[in-house]
Amino acid sequence: MTGAPTSVTTSDGSRRRGDRGTLWGLFALPGTVWLLVLFVVPFYALVCVAFGDIDPVFRNAVPAWNPLDWSFGTAGEVLGEIFGGSLRKVFLRTISYVVCAVVLSFFVGYPVAYYLARHAGRWRGLLLALMVLPFWVNYLMRMLAWVNLLQVDGWVTRAFSVFGVQVNWLDGQPITVVLGLVYGYVPFLVLPLYAALERLDGRLLEAARDLGAGPGRTFRLVTIPLSRPGMLGAGVIIALPMFGDYYTNDMLSRSPATEMVGNQVDFYLNATTQPQKGAVLVLVLSALLVVLMSYYLVSTMRIQREIRA
């Protein structure tokens, strides 16, 4: 036959065409180059600005492209402020906000995900679509909606004043920011949690019941431990963006009393001419988050490998 590619039939009958590595490599080339140029290099630029210099006249950053030229003066300054100075409160506050928000999100999101995964049955498609929908409603729109409700003449404020409680929700209240974070990020929690819970083997739960455990005990001793990896993964998925969040705080409470790390970064990079400090802050934040990020990447790869097998 002319033009037909030769093939080798191996002993089990499957045919292998000798993976044309170069062809597939070429396919992957545009995307990989793009990510290198516009993701990896910018990160390197970030590092170089953080460890670079400041032009004394124009007060803008002079990045040090050669690692040998890196100077750690500003970095040391910022680290000093983090561990002992003005930035310490911000970091601690950010961590506490994120932890509270993640925990609260679980209280709201876990039952929903659980119900979807194990009981929804016929309604599952529709409910899933409904669950996904907030994910696609613009985050800022959702915050705007709450700002409207929590304004001085907003419905929530007026409802509370009926009971004689007068609270100015939008002025430096930590609870507003935390609840705002929860409202904002719960949709991002439900979906991965649902995926993980759906993968639970129902037979294990049945086995527990067969062995005499009531629904409460089954839940506590079987369901929760089994869903722990899924919970960790979903928790990380929402914790990561929360750490970098600054707009929630800015929209819901313009006060420095509730500032998060993201606000500081935004401040240094956009509002003032101290890009160096901003860059260092971003690096510190990334270093803190690298643990979370790698955990998530590793577990994703593991799941992918399981799916492939």
Binding site: A4, L133, L140, L144, A145, L292
Partner: protein, 265 residues
Amino acid sequence: MFLPVAIAVLFSFNGGRSRSVWQGFSLRWWTGEPNASLLHDETLHSALRNSLVLALLTMLVAAPIGITLAIGLARWRSRMASGANWLMLVPLVTPEIVMGASLLLVFTNLYTGIPLGRPAQLLGHVTFSISYVVVVARGRLLSIGRDYEEAARDLGASQFQAIRLVLLPLLAPAIFAGFVIVFAMSIDDFVISAFLSSGAGSETVPVRIYSAVRTSSTPALNALASFLVASTLVALALGATVMSWFRRRRGTKESALADLTSVGI
């Protein structure tokens, strides 16, 4: 969950100037008011235009790059391939502020030929969208498998023909889902657009909402936000409809929802 948003949308039709005190139904903020309504206010207009143009351009650039990357990653077998795979996954877990900050710094210090504003925003949007396209396409690629292409090769097709005439049509629903998802994510993006904007001229709708929420107090803002949400939902609904149309033609059983929800997993 939807109640606050529904209320906000409702208030965009408010007769009065307030965003929280209901004063009767009216289309004032959408079309009526001569200077401040959505139809007339130039700043709101330009924000909307920026968002839509940016989303369209991003979609046209990111989807092809992402699809080719997905195909390449699914088939490539070498050590470099797993490196590329990691590279693709990292943007997904990177907080937007890190990406925004690094992009801002790189455009002001290294790639200074590229101005801030729409060009920089476009490049930034494409960068974070590529990984999402790969994730969406990957599931479909795995389920398609290599058999169809190999059958085509056996029947005499060249590698390129096999890809063009067999794989791509099979991949069409995922490609389409990729387009839709990139459009929706780009329209909703805030952090990257804000960091890379060059001032009021290149504001996108989310940036506009952010800067106006505590100052401007007309319901036109609600109208703007509602329009944004509506366009996202329309894009998604269109995507889902086209995809179920695809499915019915092809007779496969998977739900159209699966592609759209796979982004969250």
